[in-house]
């Protein structure tokens, strides 16, 4: 039995086999082959498997994100059957007598480079598609499980690092825990792990040889056991059973109000990052959605999602929540969430850079498409719109002008539009400090404590070295939150918290005392927080 200690991301115990997840794109080795015909047949078989995988992905995507978004997988299959691509591969295998994986990797590189050199951003970004299909075939040929699809047995994913898009792609029902070497406890991937309620550890010196071995992740103590002995397994099975028992207790809080003993009522909402999270929202009895991160629409897409695609997603969320509040945040791309086709420049300080509302206000065509989709969907439920990264009153006025024009345009065309509350994120110190002025402009505030903490304490949340300096309970943050709540109430609007701090159970009573009207937390935290609220005086 080996024991390793890392940094905790999410509590909970997981027991199961390890899947070593790796990209390893650059490790394709060139080999001489004797039997060229057999090698060609190996390639054909791998290609067929890849096409079958893409067909399955296509069907999954049609269910989850709709036909239009799913078409990209069909395009991937067609790219794999492209004559020029296949001719290049078989030609390399035949004339150079080399192994299929090397021929695929080289051909993929050539075609990807050709696209990368085109003068149009959109076509440049297509080189990623060529790389993607080539990687898929190479991984089939080498037998590596790197395509993001997990097998039938639930596994503990061990990886050097995980990008948010990779985390999103994984089938959550087959995922027991994450263990990574890189990444910070405040990175987007760590937040996703908490949202999904999956035990996770970072900062562990991972080894490839662990693939397939049994392991235990203790998310509470930050420990990973590889090849645990019988006694340890039994001990953790017992702990896991206790946790499940506690979860069952929480279940008894379903359907109950989030109200203190003295009658103070709090709206307890959930944060979600994808339509597939709706199930956990309903399962945990959240009273609404306090933060729907619309970025996934952009992150999972190969191109700007159209108004219709977005409308379908927002409509589905609004309908599923059946009249409960659904607060959708407009796109928050930039910083740690990059999308190729946006063609954003590399920045020295991305967190202080061109992101979120700054993109929307300088590229209004993207913003307008999203707003049209949101207002159209508002006729199907209780949608509110929230704008991120606000620093000035002028920005809010500019946003309101655009949104009012979009709304008017729809109404003039006879498109039904519902009542929509419009609010802003308070996640910059500037916004918190002028919250008295901002409160006069909007319907609500939602405090984004992750960025507010990063900007107030001047701490880069992507830098793992700074985790010890990241003091979420810093008096400066608590004073800002108190001030924002007070200014909101004086202007007659409500104030909530949608950052990680909202789920910090040590602070729930402090927030109640500040008069916070709404807490939006990851779905897994809804019932535990409800218990604290109901126990509070």
């Amino acid at each position: 039995m080996e024991k390793y200690t890392g940094k905790k991301v999410f509590n909970g115990v997981a027991i199961g086999p390890i899947l070593f997840y790796s990209k390893e794109q650059d490790q394709v080795v060139r080999r001489h082959v004797e039997d060229v015909q057999a090698e060609l047949a190996r390639y054909e078989a791998a290609k067929e498997t890849a096409i079958e995988q893409l067909q399955e992905l296509y069907e999954k995507a049609v269910q989850e994100v709709g036909e239009v978004n799913a078409q990209i997988f069909e395009v991937h299959s067609m790219l794999l059957e492209d004559d020029d691509y296949n001719d290049s591969i078989s030609n390399m295998i035949t004339t150079q007598e080399i192994n299929a994986e090397y021929a695929v990797a080289m051909t993929g590189d050539h075609f990807a480079e050709m696209f990368a050199n085109m003068d149009d951003e959109y076509f440049q970004a297509r080189s990623a598609d060529i790389k993607d299909i080539s990687d898929r075939v190479v991984s089939i040929l080498t037998g590596r499980g790197n395509s993001g699809e997990l097998g039938d047995t639930p596994v503990i994913i061990v990886a050097e690092d995980l990008a948010p898009s990779e985390t999103v792609k994984m089938d959550k029902s087959k995922l027991l825990a994450f263990v990574t070497h890189l990444g910070s406890t405040n990175s987007h991937t760590a937040i996703l792990a908490r949202t999904m309620g999956i035990p996770a550890l970072i900062g562990i010196d991972i080894r490839k040889e662990w693939n397939g071995k049994m392991a235990i992740v203790d998310g509470k103590e930050g420990i990973l056991f590889v090849d645990p002995d019988e006694t340890t397994i039994l001990e953790y099975q017992k702990r896991k059973a206790e946790e499940e028992e506690r979860d069952r207790l929480y279940q008894t809080l379903k359907g109950k109000e989030s109200v203190t003993q003295s009658g103070q009522k709090v709206h307890l909402y959930a944060n979600i990052g994808n339509v597939s999270d709706l199930a956990t929202v309903l399962m945990n009895d959240a009273e609404g959605i306090g933060l729907f991160r619309s970025e996934f629409l952009y992150l999972e897409s190969q191109d700007y999602p159209s108004e219709e695609e977005q409308f379908q997603v927002y409509k589905r969320v609004a309908e599923t929540m059946a009249g409960k509040k659904v607060i959708i945040r407009t796109l928050d791309i930039g910083a740690d969430k990059q999308v190729d086709y946006f063609g954003l420049d590399k920045e020295d300080n991305p967190a202080l850079g061109y992101r979120a509302i700054r993109i929307c206000l300088t590229r209004p065509e993207i913003f307008r498409t999203q707003l049209r989709a949101l207002f159209r969907a508002s006729a199907f439920g209780n949608i509110a719109i929230m704008y991120p990264m606000i620093t000035a009153v002028e920005e809010v006025r500019q946003i309101k002008e655009i949104s009012a024009a979009v709304k008017q345009e729809l109404m003039d065309a006879g498109v039904p539009v519902g009542e929509v509350e419009e609010g802003i994120m308070i996640e910059t110190p500037a916004a918190a400090i002028i919250s008295d002025q901002l409160a006069k402009e909007v319907d609500f505030f939602s405090i984004g404590t992750n960025d507010l903490t990063q900007y107030t304490l001047a701490i880069d949340r992507q830098n793992p070295k700074l985790d010890t300096f990241y003091r979420p309970h810093h008096e400066a943050i608590l004073r800002l939150i108190r001030m924002v709540a007070k200014n909101a109430h004086e202007a007659g609007i409500w104030a909530g918290i949608c950052g990680e701090l909202g789920a910090d159970m040590e602070l729930t009573e402090t927030f109640l005392e500040m008069g916070i009207d709404e807490l939006s937390v990851s779905p897994a935290c809804v019932l535990p927080i409800r218990k604290i609220i109901r126990d509070a005086k």
Binding site: V75, D82, D84, F111, F115, D119, F123, R126, D129, D303
Partner: protein, 85 residues
């Protein structure tokens, strides 16, 4: 041979999704369909070659159809372009 000219109206040009549809449509024809632009030409059955032409909104392309049933094929292709590009 039958040919027609068409100016692309799609915002991003012949991007991945419509290029995929174009390949499908071209494969249904017995005749050969060739797309010509100022930059070069490509067989409409070859997805990468078409995408590599980098056709953008406002670009004019010439579509040449040659072979079996070319009159009808050209009509089908014209209808396809009007509906999708």
């Amino acid at each position: 041979m039958v040919a027609f000219k068409y100016t692309i109206t799609d915002e991003v040009g012949i991007h991945a999704r419509p290029a995929g549809l174009l390949v499908k449509a071209a494969k249904e024809q017995a005749a050969t369909v060739t797309i010509k632009t100022a930059k070069g030409s490509a067989d409409a059955r070859k997805l990468m070659a078409i995408m590599a032409l980098g056709v953008k909104q406002g670009d004019e392309v010439t579509v040449e159809v040659e072979g079996e049933n070319e009159e009808q094929a050209a009509k089908d292709m014209q209808a396809f372009f009007e509906a999708n590009l």
